[in-house]
Symmetry: C2
Subunit: 447 residues, 2 copies
């Protein structure tokens, strides 16, 4: 591998120029800006590593699918996306979001961290490996989509309709970070699922004068009483059967959680809070964050919410709830348990409006692919990685891999202060180079 | 009295023209339209009955105070207001809101019911009585304010600073209605009080991604849990001491409540509801409406309330609550009981923002003045009146009479379909004439 590393180091400027070219091309899926040009640019870079390219029409922005088939035993997939978040608010950027700038060892522009830095680093690794060894030690498949920032509406369709393309030994998924201060690489093995619903409670057909509240039902009170049956003050979710499918953590998963960094004092300071739920701290806090399902009020609205006072008896009360789910919970089942719960507690009149659901996805931590990645990290990083059994949030991982048992690992070139989705998004150049080497090492070890 | 009645009947057209003149003059306090002109018009009509007029500067619109002192034993006060609600939405009016129109026995314009019809009817009664008898049987005091529709911000100040003007034997207050279908006159003896507060619960300094809800406090959940300690599903308010000061109803008050009409089927149909709280019906329902204190969620807001979904952990949750109070509850005390309750239940961090409070006001139903009014009603109306111990809502009665024991009775020329505050506000001409007679009869009996 040393020769590959040397090649990468010797061509850092060239690889950085590839990243610049990608970041200087806007590709805002939500605003339909630059998507066509970006798609062509992605194909241009895939051609540099002799990939066979297929443009898969989705009805939205196409998936650029690529293969480098060297008739090897193992196949490695890279999932990345070529679209970015809108740059707004523009006034918070110190430089043009679509004109890279290099300063203090960092490269700043929209997409550097999410996700062009990773997309290009994967290609660079292949490029360097090919330059040194002629051919790759594994077969490669690329799935580069253009709709990640708008919810990946066609990714599930892709996985279902191209099962032969999904036939791989492991996936390096999108990206990841290292700690901005403690430098340890984050290795993600999955994401929580989600079930997002709105509960709608209706009283009289229209808002009434609040003097009538003495005898006429108040939809807001009714929703409050329904909600308090869902979760108690100790954060225990009270829906019958809610926890039934939760897989207990294995000792290995618990050990992974212990690797996780969570600077409690820094977070308390940053968020202006005195402590955490149930006074948790240390490992139990990290375990709750990554491995516990939740029931969260994301929004509540009823009656008059403007300035000052209005004496009104609200006709309608609405609450938006998200449930974050962990293996093996299922979003559909959670919604039906919720329906049964409300009916059983006398709230059958409360309507459940179902938004999206995603199953949780977790890679088996005992899979050989995980061990391969961890060994590669050991080779290249001074400190042992932080292993995240799940990210606390969700991601399109759930969509593409909902029916799959392929191991997928999230690693990437960002750090925890990269301002992903925010202004002045940036990565360290060192992390970009290191990310190229790590990818090369993984290919080498997987063979 | 027959001669007075005859004079009234013989001059109905003239009296109606006075009302027309008043209603054709806009006087929208909230929009500062026509207030000066209306004030002058009120003085013009008071001069017709030889009142001594004093224009009391309030800092807002003046109170037109008048006296007709005939050195009689008893003094009767009329409280009315010369301002009106804005006419909007204009497109719902079938005619110009400030141009009276007479059709099907009704006169339609903004202010006919609330409150110019009553203001003018009181003056007409005095005018007719003077024409027949030369002088009045009682002394008269007029309090005509111009700020009722913007919350009577100076009425309490008036009562406190002019105690000698408040020295009367009874007050005919503002106005009232009769049933649109059952024709019985409503006689109001008071109003509930109110305490309006906002509870504000704060979590982290800013909204967070909802994935963090696993370990960081959710202000909306916390407010839900605090609220459920305030009132249970059976509508029992759980604040310690909340009901302590509630005066039990006397037999006479219960008998009054029984006179009240409340067409349950019509209300259910109109509001689109299946029934009333706690399945109440009949007298217990009417008793709850008029005599029970309440704790009402008027508004609730937290987090994301727009279309679709946003996975957010809300920083702040706010609820607006009104408590309707009955004798002898006190709004200040209710707020301090609420504070103690929240503290006791572990919610000392929840801020209480206090808006307005008004003490409940009830006239002693055994007062001779009430009997005088009821006897006058007996003389003039075919059917016995509906006697309302309180209106379920509030009114500036609480402000002017908070430290007073003067009996005040609400009667007037509207009906329950007069569209007070709404488009096409109207009264029946017959009710206007009858209102003039009733006022004359009350003066006659009070002497």
């Amino acid at each position: 591998m040393d020769k590959v590393y040397e090649y990468i180091e010797g061509h850092s400027g060239e690889y950085l120029s590839w990243l610049e070219e990608c970041c200087n091309q806007p590709s805002i899926s939500a605003q339909n800006i630059g998507m066509l040009e970006m798609k062509e640019l992605v194909k241009h870079f895939l051609l540099k590593v002799d990939a066979d390219i297929e443009e898969i029409e989705t009805g939205g922005y196409p998936i650029i699918y690529g293969e480098i088939n060297s008739a090897k035993k193992k196949t490695l997939m890279f999932y990345n996306h070529y679209d970015v978040q809108p740059p707004e608010p523009l006034e918070e950027w110190l430089s043009d979001p679509f004109q890279t700038i290099i300063e203090n060892g960092k490269i700043t522009a929209r997409g550097t961290a999410d996700n062009k830095g990773n997309l290009i680093a994967r290609i660079c690794a292949i490029h360097a490996y090919q330059k040194i060894h002629g051919e790759l030690p594994v077969n490669i498949k690329f799935v580069f989509e253009g709709e990640e920032e708008v919810g990946s509406p066609h990714l599930e369709w892709f996985a279902e309709n191209f099962p032969e393309k999904m036939n791989v030994d492991g996936i390096i998924w999108e990206g990841g970070s290292r700690g901005a201060n403690d430098k340890r690489l984050h290795v993600g093995l999955g994401v929580k699922g989600i079930s997002y619903v709105e509960l709608i409670c209706k009283g009289a057909d229209f808002d009434l004068h609040s003097s009538e509240a003495a005898i006429i039902e108040n939809s807001a009170w009714r929703l409050v009483w329904a909600l308090k049956t869902l979760k108690n003050e100790n954060e225990k979710i009270l829906i019958d059967g809610f926890y039934d499918d939760v897989l207990p953590l294995t000792d290995k998963e618990k050990a992974f959680i212990q690797t996780m960094a969570y600077n409690e004092d820094e977070i308390k300071e940053q968020y202006g809070i005195d402590g955490f739920l149930n006074n948790l701290t240390g490992d139990p806090l990290k375990e709750r964050l990554t491995a516990a399902p939740t029931c969260t009020i994301c929004g509540f609205e009823s009656g008059y919410t403007g300035e000052g006072t209005k004496t009104v008896l609200p006709s309608v009360a609405k609450v938006k709830l998200d449930f974050r789910l962990v293996p093996k919970q299922n979003p559909k089942k959670i919604v039906s348990l919720l329906r049964e719960h409300l009916d059983r507690h006398g709230y059958s009149d409360i309507e459940i409006k179902e938004y999206h659901g995603m199953v949780p996805f977790n890679t088996d931590p005992n899979s050989p692919f995980v061990n391969t990645v961890l060994a590669a990290v050991d080779d290249l990083y001074q400190e042992p990685p932080i292993i995240l059994r799940n990210l606390a949030g969700s991601s399109p991982m759930n969509k593409m891999l909902k029916k799959s048992t392929v191991p997928a690992v999230q690693i990437g070139v960002a750090n925890t202060q990269s301002n992903i989705h925010g202004p002045n998004e940036n990565i360290y150049i060192d992390d970009f180079i290191q990310g190229i080497k790590l990818t090369a090492n993984i290919m080498h070890r997987l063979k």
